[in-house]
Protein backbone atom coordinates (compact mmCIF):
# COMPACT_ATOMS: atom_id res chain seq x y z
CA UNK A 1 0.00 0.00 0.00
CA UNK A 2 2.74 2.45 0.90
CA UNK A 3 4.53 1.50 -2.30
CA UNK A 4 1.36 2.22 -4.19
CA UNK A 5 1.09 5.63 -2.54
CA UNK A 6 4.73 6.29 -3.27
CA UNK A 7 4.13 5.57 -6.94
CA UNK A 8 1.19 7.95 -7.01
CA UNK A 9 3.30 10.53 -5.22
CA UNK A 10 6.20 10.18 -7.67
CA UNK A 11 3.85 10.25 -10.65
CA UNK A 12 2.18 13.37 -9.37
CA UNK A 13 5.53 15.05 -9.12
CA UNK A 14 6.99 13.92 -12.42
CA UNK A 15 3.92 15.08 -14.34
CA UNK A 16 4.09 18.81 -14.90
CA UNK A 17 7.25 19.43 -12.91
CA UNK A 18 9.84 22.03 -13.84
CA UNK A 19 10.00 25.67 -12.87
CA UNK A 20 6.89 27.61 -12.04
CA UNK A 21 6.66 31.37 -12.20
CA UNK A 22 8.46 32.66 -9.09
CA UNK A 23 10.97 29.81 -8.92
CA UNK A 24 14.71 30.43 -9.09
CA UNK A 25 16.24 28.88 -12.21
CA UNK A 26 19.49 27.00 -11.69
CA UNK A 27 22.41 28.08 -13.83
CA UNK A 28 23.66 25.71 -16.52
CA UNK A 29 26.77 25.21 -18.60
CA UNK A 30 25.99 24.25 -22.19
CA UNK A 31 27.99 24.09 -25.39
CA UNK A 32 27.44 26.85 -27.91
CA UNK A 33 27.69 26.36 -31.69
CA UNK A 34 31.20 27.91 -31.56
CA UNK A 35 32.32 25.14 -29.19
CA UNK A 36 32.54 27.39 -26.13
CA UNK A 37 30.62 26.69 -22.94
CA UNK A 38 28.00 29.24 -21.93
CA UNK A 39 26.44 29.89 -18.51
CA UNK A 40 24.02 32.54 -17.32
CA UNK A 41 26.68 33.68 -14.84
CA UNK A 42 28.87 34.73 -17.81
CA UNK A 43 26.49 37.63 -18.32
CA UNK A 44 27.60 39.88 -15.49
CA UNK A 45 25.79 42.96 -16.75
CA UNK A 46 22.52 41.29 -17.68
CA UNK A 47 19.35 42.25 -15.83
CA UNK A 48 17.76 39.01 -16.90
CA UNK A 49 17.36 36.60 -19.79
CA UNK A 50 14.98 35.56 -22.52
CA UNK A 51 15.58 31.81 -22.58
CA UNK A 52 14.05 30.00 -25.55
CA UNK A 53 13.97 26.27 -26.17
CA UNK A 54 14.01 26.01 -29.93
CA UNK A 55 15.39 23.89 -32.74
CA UNK A 56 16.00 23.68 -36.50
CA UNK A 57 13.43 21.05 -37.35
CA UNK A 58 10.15 22.20 -35.81
CA UNK A 59 8.08 24.28 -38.24
CA UNK A 60 6.68 26.38 -35.40
CA UNK A 61 10.19 27.13 -34.17
CA UNK A 62 11.21 28.06 -37.70
CA UNK A 63 8.19 30.37 -38.06
CA UNK A 64 9.32 32.16 -34.91
CA UNK A 65 13.06 32.40 -35.76
CA UNK A 66 12.86 35.95 -37.10
CA UNK A 67 10.87 37.04 -34.08
CA UNK A 68 13.45 35.49 -31.72
CA UNK A 69 16.21 37.39 -33.55
CA UNK A 70 14.13 40.58 -33.24
CA UNK A 71 13.75 39.98 -29.50
CA UNK A 72 17.51 39.82 -29.04
CA UNK A 73 18.04 42.89 -31.22
CA UNK A 74 15.58 44.83 -29.11
CA UNK A 75 16.40 43.61 -25.62
CA UNK A 76 20.07 42.57 -25.50
CA UNK A 77 21.17 46.20 -25.18
CA UNK A 78 18.54 46.74 -22.49
CA UNK A 79 19.96 43.91 -20.39
CA UNK A 80 17.78 40.99 -21.48
CA UNK A 81 19.72 38.89 -24.00
CA UNK A 82 18.21 35.87 -25.74
CA UNK A 83 19.71 32.50 -24.84
CA UNK A 84 18.54 29.79 -27.25
CA UNK A 85 18.76 26.15 -26.19
CA UNK A 86 18.20 23.18 -28.52
CA UNK A 87 16.72 20.38 -26.36
CA UNK A 88 16.06 17.54 -28.83
CA UNK A 89 17.77 14.17 -28.89
CA UNK A 90 19.84 14.48 -32.06
CA UNK A 91 19.66 10.73 -32.68
CA UNK A 92 15.91 11.17 -33.16
CA UNK A 93 16.33 14.49 -34.99
CA UNK A 94 19.68 14.48 -36.84
CA UNK A 95 18.67 17.82 -38.36
CA UNK A 96 19.19 19.33 -34.91
CA UNK A 97 22.78 18.11 -34.45
CA UNK A 98 25.42 20.71 -33.54
CA UNK A 99 26.82 21.15 -37.10
CA UNK A 100 23.26 21.64 -38.38
CA UNK A 101 22.57 24.14 -35.61
CA UNK A 102 25.71 26.02 -36.59
CA UNK A 103 24.62 26.05 -40.23
CA UNK A 104 21.17 27.37 -39.39
CA UNK A 105 22.57 30.04 -37.07
CA UNK A 106 24.89 31.22 -39.85
CA UNK A 107 22.09 31.25 -42.43
CA UNK A 108 19.88 33.31 -40.17
CA UNK A 109 22.67 35.41 -38.61
CA UNK A 110 21.77 34.53 -35.04
CA UNK A 111 23.09 37.29 -32.79
CA UNK A 112 22.68 35.19 -29.64
CA UNK A 113 24.12 31.90 -28.34
CA UNK A 114 22.50 28.75 -29.70
CA UNK A 115 23.31 26.10 -27.12
CA UNK A 116 22.81 22.35 -27.21
CA UNK A 117 21.32 20.52 -24.22
CA UNK A 118 23.39 17.52 -25.24
CA UNK A 119 22.57 15.27 -22.28
CA UNK A 120 19.01 16.61 -22.12
CA UNK A 121 19.41 17.59 -18.48
CA UNK A 122 18.49 21.28 -18.65
CA UNK A 123 15.11 21.33 -20.41
CA UNK A 124 13.43 19.06 -17.78
CA UNK A 125 14.53 21.44 -15.02
CA UNK A 126 12.76 24.26 -16.82
CA UNK A 127 9.82 22.00 -17.53
CA UNK A 128 10.04 22.81 -21.23
CA UNK A 129 7.86 20.43 -23.24
CA UNK A 130 8.03 21.78 -26.74
CA UNK A 131 9.75 24.06 -29.22
CA UNK A 132 9.49 26.99 -29.15
CA UNK A 133 9.01 27.41 -25.40
CA UNK A 134 9.96 30.73 -23.80
CA UNK A 135 11.12 31.56 -20.26
CA UNK A 136 11.81 35.11 -19.12
CA UNK A 137 14.16 35.27 -16.13
CA UNK A 138 14.93 38.26 -13.95
CA UNK A 139 18.27 38.51 -12.18
CA UNK A 140 17.75 39.17 -8.47
CA UNK A 141 19.73 38.74 -5.26
CA UNK A 142 18.35 35.23 -4.83
CA UNK A 143 19.15 34.24 -8.40
CA UNK A 144 17.45 34.19 -11.78
CA UNK A 145 13.74 34.20 -11.02
CA UNK A 146 11.28 32.84 -13.59
CA UNK A 147 8.87 35.65 -14.46
CA UNK A 148 7.14 34.38 -17.58
CA UNK A 149 6.58 30.98 -19.26
CA UNK A 150 4.94 30.34 -22.60
CA UNK A 151 4.53 31.69 -26.11
CA UNK A 152 6.19 34.64 -27.85
CA UNK A 153 2.97 36.23 -29.07
CA UNK A 154 -0.59 35.42 -30.05
CA UNK A 155 -0.27 34.83 -33.79
CA UNK A 156 2.17 32.18 -34.98
CA UNK A 157 0.98 32.51 -38.56
CA UNK A 158 1.45 36.18 -39.18
CA UNK A 159 3.83 38.41 -37.22
CA UNK A 160 2.07 41.50 -38.58
CA UNK A 161 -1.30 40.32 -37.23
CA UNK A 162 -0.05 39.86 -33.66
CA UNK A 163 -2.13 41.76 -31.12
CA UNK A 164 -0.38 40.69 -27.90
CA UNK A 165 3.38 40.29 -27.61
CA UNK A 166 3.58 38.20 -24.44
CA UNK A 167 7.38 38.10 -24.08
CA UNK A 168 7.85 41.79 -24.89
CA UNK A 169 5.13 42.75 -22.45
CA UNK A 170 6.83 40.69 -19.74
CA UNK A 171 10.29 42.14 -20.35
CA UNK A 172 8.95 45.70 -20.69
CA UNK A 173 7.18 45.36 -17.35
CA UNK A 174 10.35 44.05 -15.67
CA UNK A 175 12.42 46.88 -17.16
CA UNK A 176 9.93 49.36 -15.70
CA UNK A 177 10.08 47.64 -12.33
CA UNK A 178 6.49 46.50 -12.64
CA UNK A 179 5.08 43.02 -12.18
CA UNK A 180 4.33 40.88 -15.23
CA UNK A 181 0.58 40.83 -15.91
CA UNK A 182 0.31 37.70 -18.02
CA UNK A 183 2.78 35.25 -16.53
CA UNK A 184 1.83 32.08 -18.41
CA UNK A 185 0.50 31.42 -21.90
CA UNK A 186 -0.06 28.32 -24.01
CA UNK A 187 0.77 27.59 -27.63
CA UNK A 188 1.04 24.57 -29.89
CA UNK A 189 4.59 23.38 -30.44
CA UNK A 190 6.62 20.32 -31.38
CA UNK A 191 7.18 17.96 -28.48
CA UNK A 192 10.80 17.79 -27.35
CA UNK A 193 12.29 14.59 -28.80
CA UNK A 194 13.74 12.24 -26.18
Amino acid sequence: MSLFLAIIFITAFTVGNGYKVGDVAEDFKLKNIDGKMVSLSDYQDAKGFIVTFTCNTCPYAVMYEDRIIALNNKYESKGYPVIAIMPNNVKVKPGDALPEMKKRAEEKDFTFPYLIDADQSVYPKFGATKTPHMFVLQKTDKGNVVKYIGAIDNNYKDATAVTTKYVENAVDALLKGESVKETETKAIGCSIKV
Binding site: T129, A151, A187, G189, C190, I192
Partner: protein
Protein backbone atom coordinates in the same frame (compact mmCIF):
# COMPACT_ATOMS: atom_id res chain seq x y z
CA UNK B 1 18.57 16.38 -77.20
CA UNK B 2 19.76 17.91 -80.48
CA UNK B 3 23.16 18.38 -78.89
CA UNK B 4 23.27 14.68 -78.07
CA UNK B 5 22.72 13.88 -81.72
CA UNK B 6 25.64 16.11 -82.65
CA UNK B 7 27.84 14.43 -80.01
CA UNK B 8 26.95 11.03 -81.44
CA UNK B 9 27.90 12.15 -84.91
CA UNK B 10 31.09 13.60 -83.55
CA UNK B 11 31.82 10.28 -81.93
CA UNK B 12 31.32 8.42 -85.21
CA UNK B 13 33.47 10.87 -87.16
CA UNK B 14 36.15 10.66 -84.47
CA UNK B 15 36.15 6.87 -84.58
CA UNK B 16 39.07 6.90 -87.00
CA UNK B 17 40.86 9.74 -85.27
CA UNK B 18 43.01 10.10 -82.19
CA UNK B 19 42.09 8.33 -78.98
CA UNK B 20 42.16 11.62 -77.04
CA UNK B 21 39.40 13.08 -79.16
CA UNK B 22 37.41 9.89 -78.66
CA UNK B 23 37.60 10.43 -74.90
CA UNK B 24 36.28 13.96 -75.21
CA UNK B 25 33.37 12.73 -77.28
CA UNK B 26 32.57 10.00 -74.75
CA UNK B 27 32.62 12.54 -71.92
CA UNK B 28 30.19 14.73 -73.83
CA UNK B 29 27.93 11.73 -74.40
CA UNK B 30 27.98 10.97 -70.69
CA UNK B 31 26.66 14.44 -69.95
CA UNK B 32 23.85 13.71 -72.42
CA UNK B 33 22.85 10.83 -70.20
CA UNK B 34 22.46 13.27 -67.32
CA UNK B 35 20.28 15.56 -69.41
CA UNK B 36 18.14 12.60 -70.25
CA UNK B 37 17.62 11.90 -66.53
CA UNK B 38 16.56 15.47 -66.03
CA UNK B 39 14.13 15.21 -68.93
CA UNK B 40 12.65 12.06 -67.39
CA UNK B 41 12.18 13.79 -64.05
CA UNK B 42 9.74 16.26 -65.56
CA UNK B 43 6.82 13.90 -66.19
CA UNK B 44 7.01 12.70 -62.58
CA UNK B 45 6.69 16.31 -61.45
CA UNK B 46 3.50 16.70 -63.40
CA UNK B 47 2.42 13.40 -61.83
CA UNK B 48 2.98 15.07 -58.45
CA UNK B 49 0.78 18.02 -59.35
CA UNK B 50 -1.82 15.57 -60.65
CA UNK B 51 -1.73 13.89 -57.25
CA UNK B 52 -2.22 17.24 -55.53
CA UNK B 53 -5.10 18.01 -57.87
CA UNK B 54 -6.72 14.68 -57.00
CA UNK B 55 -6.14 15.25 -53.29
CA UNK B 56 -7.76 18.68 -53.49
CA UNK B 57 -11.02 16.89 -54.20
CA UNK B 58 -10.95 15.71 -50.59
CA UNK B 59 -13.32 17.82 -48.59
CA UNK B 60 -11.75 19.15 -45.45
CA UNK B 61 -13.84 20.68 -42.71
CA UNK B 62 -11.97 23.58 -41.12
CA UNK B 63 -13.05 24.97 -37.77
CA UNK B 64 -12.03 27.74 -35.45
CA UNK B 65 -12.22 26.78 -31.76
CA UNK B 66 -15.72 28.16 -31.38
CA UNK B 67 -16.92 25.82 -34.11
CA UNK B 68 -14.77 22.92 -32.98
CA UNK B 69 -15.55 22.81 -29.26
CA UNK B 70 -18.80 20.87 -29.72
CA UNK B 71 -16.73 17.81 -30.67
CA UNK B 72 -15.24 17.77 -27.16
CA UNK B 73 -18.52 17.17 -25.35
CA UNK B 74 -20.96 15.19 -27.48
CA UNK B 75 -23.55 13.61 -25.24
CA UNK B 76 -24.15 10.38 -27.13
CA UNK B 77 -23.46 6.73 -26.37
CA UNK B 78 -20.09 6.68 -28.10
CA UNK B 79 -16.57 6.70 -26.76
CA UNK B 80 -14.91 9.58 -28.58
CA UNK B 81 -11.18 9.55 -29.22
CA UNK B 82 -9.94 12.96 -30.33
CA UNK B 83 -6.33 13.07 -31.47
CA UNK B 84 -4.51 16.36 -32.10
CA UNK B 85 -1.83 15.90 -34.75
CA UNK B 86 -0.10 17.44 -37.76
CA UNK B 87 1.71 16.09 -40.81
CA UNK B 88 4.88 17.91 -39.65
CA UNK B 89 4.82 16.15 -36.27
CA UNK B 90 6.83 12.92 -36.55
CA UNK B 91 5.57 11.20 -33.37
CA UNK B 92 2.00 12.06 -34.43
CA UNK B 93 2.44 10.47 -37.84
CA UNK B 94 4.00 7.44 -36.19
CA UNK B 95 0.99 6.79 -33.97
CA UNK B 96 -1.70 7.54 -36.59
CA UNK B 97 -1.95 3.90 -37.72
CA UNK B 98 -2.85 2.93 -34.14
CA UNK B 99 -5.75 5.38 -34.13
CA UNK B 100 -6.81 4.09 -37.52
CA UNK B 101 -6.69 0.53 -36.27
CA UNK B 102 -8.62 1.46 -33.14
CA UNK B 103 -11.30 3.20 -35.19
CA UNK B 104 -11.70 0.08 -37.31
CA UNK B 105 -11.51 -2.59 -34.64
CA UNK B 106 -13.61 -0.83 -32.03
CA UNK B 107 -16.31 0.58 -34.31
CA UNK B 108 -18.57 -2.28 -33.16
CA UNK B 109 -17.99 -1.17 -29.57
CA UNK B 110 -19.17 2.33 -30.47
CA UNK B 111 -15.72 3.91 -30.40
CA UNK B 112 -15.18 6.78 -32.82
CA UNK B 113 -11.86 8.39 -33.66
CA UNK B 114 -11.51 11.96 -34.86
CA UNK B 115 -8.16 13.23 -36.11
CA UNK B 116 -7.81 16.96 -35.55
CA UNK B 117 -5.09 18.36 -37.77
CA UNK B 118 -3.15 21.40 -36.60
CA UNK B 119 -1.37 21.75 -39.92
CA UNK B 120 -0.69 25.23 -41.22
CA UNK B 121 -3.62 26.44 -43.36
CA UNK B 122 -1.37 27.38 -46.27
CA UNK B 123 -0.33 23.72 -46.46
CA UNK B 124 -3.81 22.11 -46.45
CA UNK B 125 -3.73 21.61 -50.22
CA UNK B 126 -0.04 20.83 -50.59
CA UNK B 127 0.56 18.66 -47.53
CA UNK B 128 -2.51 17.70 -45.53
CA UNK B 129 -4.91 16.61 -48.27
CA UNK B 130 -2.29 14.58 -50.19
CA UNK B 131 -1.32 12.96 -46.86
CA UNK B 132 -4.93 11.99 -46.08
CA UNK B 133 -5.26 10.50 -49.55
CA UNK B 134 -1.91 8.71 -49.58
CA UNK B 135 -2.37 7.16 -46.12
CA UNK B 136 -5.99 6.37 -46.95
CA UNK B 137 -7.12 7.68 -43.56
CA UNK B 138 -10.52 6.25 -42.70
CA UNK B 139 -11.11 8.11 -39.43
CA UNK B 140 -12.76 11.50 -39.71
CA UNK B 141 -10.12 14.18 -40.25
CA UNK B 142 -10.88 17.82 -39.57
CA UNK B 143 -8.62 20.85 -39.37
CA UNK B 144 -8.51 23.28 -36.46
CA UNK B 145 -7.32 26.73 -37.48
CA UNK B 146 -7.34 29.22 -34.64
CA UNK B 147 -4.28 31.38 -34.00
CA UNK B 148 -5.37 32.50 -30.55
CA UNK B 149 -3.91 29.38 -28.97
CA UNK B 150 -3.57 30.79 -25.51
CA UNK B 151 -7.34 31.14 -25.33
CA UNK B 152 -8.30 27.71 -26.65
CA UNK B 153 -5.53 25.33 -25.50
CA UNK B 154 -6.51 25.63 -21.80
CA UNK B 155 -10.14 25.06 -22.78
CA UNK B 156 -9.25 21.69 -24.31
CA UNK B 157 -7.48 20.78 -21.07
CA UNK B 158 -6.07 23.01 -18.36
CA UNK B 159 -2.96 20.80 -18.11
CA UNK B 160 -2.09 20.86 -21.82
CA UNK B 161 1.20 22.69 -22.44
CA UNK B 162 0.47 22.74 -26.16
CA UNK B 163 2.82 20.02 -27.40
CA UNK B 164 1.48 17.40 -29.79
CA UNK B 165 0.59 14.60 -30.09
CA UNK B 166 -2.21 15.03 -27.57
CA UNK B 167 -5.37 12.98 -27.20
CA UNK B 168 -8.70 13.16 -25.41
CA UNK B 169 -10.82 10.12 -24.74
CA UNK B 170 -14.34 10.79 -23.45
CA UNK B 171 -17.86 9.52 -23.17
CA UNK B 172 -20.92 11.25 -21.80
CA UNK B 173 -19.80 10.58 -18.22
CA UNK B 174 -16.13 11.43 -18.14
CA UNK B 175 -13.11 12.64 -20.06
CA UNK B 176 -9.39 11.96 -19.93
CA UNK B 177 -6.59 14.02 -21.49
CA UNK B 178 -3.20 12.63 -22.58
CA UNK B 179 -0.21 14.77 -23.63
CA UNK B 180 1.82 11.81 -24.88
CA UNK B 181 2.44 9.33 -27.69
CA UNK B 182 0.71 5.96 -27.69
CA UNK B 183 1.49 2.43 -28.76
CA UNK B 184 -1.52 0.51 -30.00
CA UNK B 185 -1.58 -1.51 -26.78
CA UNK B 186 -1.53 1.60 -24.57
CA UNK B 187 -4.26 3.22 -26.61
CA UNK B 188 -6.41 0.10 -26.51
CA UNK B 189 -5.97 -0.15 -22.73
CA UNK B 190 -7.07 3.44 -22.21
CA UNK B 191 -10.12 2.99 -24.43
CA UNK B 192 -11.06 -0.24 -22.64
CA UNK B 193 -11.34 1.73 -19.39
CA UNK B 194 -14.18 3.66 -21.03
CA UNK B 195 -15.88 0.52 -22.24
CA UNK B 196 -16.18 -1.26 -18.90
Amino acid sequence: MLNCQIYKELLISFMHMKLKALFVAILLMASCGKNKEKAQAEPSQSFESKKTAEASKIELEVYDFKGFKKFLSLKDDKVHVINFWATWCAPCVKELPYFEMLNKQYAVANVEVMLVSLDFPHLYEKKLKPFIKEKKLMSKVIALDDVDMNSWIPRVDSNWSGSIPATIIYNKDRSQFYEQSFTYEELENEVKKFLN
